[in-house]
């Protein structure tokens, strides 16, 4: 492996960050410039949204069920098993729903975008598109960014609901909790701030997933090996960034809402 000087490394890092921010800004700015590719946005929304549904259904259900299963043990010790709905509800809506959905979609779609765009780069299809008078940023990047941001919002809602349902199944079937009592406590405990926080996050996460996926795809170099590297980097970078951004959003919104 070739060693690189610290100055060179710093330069490359700054360049990469600059290029990423340029891509992210352009992807949004293109919404206000013609041509707009609505058909491509719908197609991407179908691929990203509907395509991710099975994995979101499975993870949502299992995370909710596991949350209920793990917390029930502790709650039972304090004789507060009835609070299980409350715990699952707050945990899923405020934190686990958005983060798990974000990570799942990152694993599935950031890699997909990086490999698809990366393959197009190394086979000169991106250059061909530019040569044919079409802006790849408008045609390929913006539809993916918009579709991922919008669809992650809805996927998170589905994940939250299924998590609550998974928790309900465990609570009712394993711990004999009353079905109505579970849903009543789950519903009553949620306040506007919880829902707002839970639904704000996927908007950021979706943007991160798509822009990171597209960035690594469009900057892929070095043939099939380069595409493989770009795919891995896209998943790692988007997952790490989701976790970091989540921390800051949570802290920020807690401060804004003077959280309890």
């Amino acid at each position: 492996m070739e060693l690189i000087s610290p100055t060179e490394f710093a330069k490359e890092t700054v360049n990469s960050v600059q290029d990423y921010f340029l891509l992210a800004t352009q992807s949004v700015a293109n919404l206000f410039r013609k041509p707009r590719y609505f058909a491509d946005m719908i197609q991407q929304a179908d691929l990203i949204g509907f395509g991710s549904l099975p994995i979101i259904v499975l993870t949502g259900l299992s995370i909710g069920a596991e949350l209920a299963l793990n917390s029930a043990n502790t709650l039972e010790r304090f004789g507060s098993l009835s609070l299980i709905g409350q715990l699952v509800s707050v945990g899923m809506v405020r934190e686990l729903g958005p983060i798990i959905t974000g990570l799942m979609v990152a694993g599935r779609n950031a890699s997909g975008m990086a490999s698809e765009l990366g393959s197009m780069v190394v086979t000169e299809q991106i250059d061909a598109m530019r040569a044919l008078g079409t802006d790849p940023m408008k045609k390929l990047v913006t539809p993916r960014v918009i579709a991922t941001t919008v669809m992650l919002f809805f996927l998170t809602i589905i994940s939250d609901l299924l998590g609550l349902f998974g928790g309900a199944m465990v609570s009712v079937l394993l711990f004999g909790l009353d079905w109505h009592q579970y849903w009543d406590t789950a519903y009553q405990t949620l306040v506007f701030q919880d829902v707002f926080m839970g639904l704000m996050k996927p908007l950021f996460f979706g943007f991160i997933i798509a822009t990171i996926g597209c960035y690594y795809g469009t900057t892929a170099r070095g043939g099939t090996q380069g595409v493989g590297r770009a795919t891995t980097q896209a998943v790692v970078a988007s997952s790490v960034l989701i976790l970091i951004v989540d921390l800051f959003i949570t802290k920020f919104l807690m401060a804004v809402f003077a959280y309890r």
Binding site: P35, Q125, D127, A128, R130, A131, G133, T134, K139
Partner: protein
């Protein structure tokens, strides 16, 4: 009507002056990772002319095409394409200019998720001037030019290498561009398929008289182009009679170590006393 060969002694009628030039390179230099690839090169392509760019691998042949399209920017110098300085243009303005230029990429660069029909019609659909239904006729016309009408519903992966090149040519010519750029159109193909591709390029040159830059390392292909013409009566490429030349001017540009070492016609090339050129064309 066939392009009638003209006697080589007669001077072929050609416009002179800047307006007759569709591409002008002025002292263009570019380097990659500290290695100079093009070192202050200057040349021009006249309207209707076909210029073959030759050189060894890595001599910057394909870079010239990408620079002409504004896909890359030079470190120094100016490039005028259809009167516009592409080195100074914004990317948005370049997209407008690129619509007047067709390019055939080295490995075809067809969109692998689109069918042949969608690939060929890509530019028409993107420009938005025609409906999905109205693209059928120009697509058929472009594909019939390359004799691949029966492949419209196939995907690029279902085609052979030669067929993919032909589809790429159809995609490039569908809007009848003012300039055509060919990047090693016969690279990696067998001799028979190469001849088929060259015949299509000669057909395009002699029928539509589109100004073209053709990059290749296969000198035999360019000699074939210079010594043949397309006869529309018999729909075939035929050799020019001895001592005659085609109606469309064909020139050669040879690169070495980032510099142009030859820019002239086939007659000048074969009579060159330069040892390197002699070896290059032997």
């Amino acid at each position: 009507m066939a392009a009638p060969p003209t006697a080589i002694e007669q001077s072929a009628p050609s416009e002179t002056g800047a307006s007759a030039n569709v591409i002008v390179f002025e002292n263009v230099s570019i380097a990659f990772e500290g290695k100079t690839v093009l070192d202050g090169i200057s040349f021009h392509l006249e309207r209707g002319e076909t210029k073959a760019i030759l050189g060894i691998a890595g001599s910057g042949k394909s870079t010239i095409l990408k620079l002409s399209l504004g896909l890359m920017r030079p470190d120094d110098g100016h490039i005028y394409v259809l009167g516009d300085d592409v080195t100074q243009m914004r990317e948005d303005d370049l997209f407008e200019l690129r619509r007047k230029i067709g390019m055939v990429f080295q490995e075809s660069a067809l969109f692998d998720s689109l069918t042949v029909r969608e690939n060929v019609a890509f530019r028409l659909l993107e420009e938005g001037h025609v409906s999905e239904g109205a693209i059928e006729e120009p697509v058929r016309e472009a594909l019939s030019f390359v004799e691949l009408e029966n492949t419209v519903d196939k995907f690029p992966s279902e085609l052979s290498g030669g067929m993919r090149r032909r589809v790429a040519i159809a995609r490039a010519i569908i809007t009848h561009p003012e300039i055509l750029l060919y990047d090693s159109p016969t690279g990696g193909l067998d001799p028979v398929t190469s001849t088929t591709i060259i015949e299509l390029i000669v057909k395009q040159r002699d029928v539509y008289k589109t100004s073209s830059l053709l990059v290749t390392h296969r000198i035999q292909d360019t000699f074939m182009m210079a010594t043949h013409y397309f006869d529309r009566k018999v729909n075939k490429m035929l050799p020019l009679p001895k001592g005659a030349r085609g109606e469309v001017p064909m020139t050669f540009l040879i690169l070495r170590d980032g510099k142009i070492i030859f820019d002239g016609d086939v007659n000048q090339l074969v009579h060159s006393k330069d040892e390197y050129l002699k070896e290059f064309i032997s």
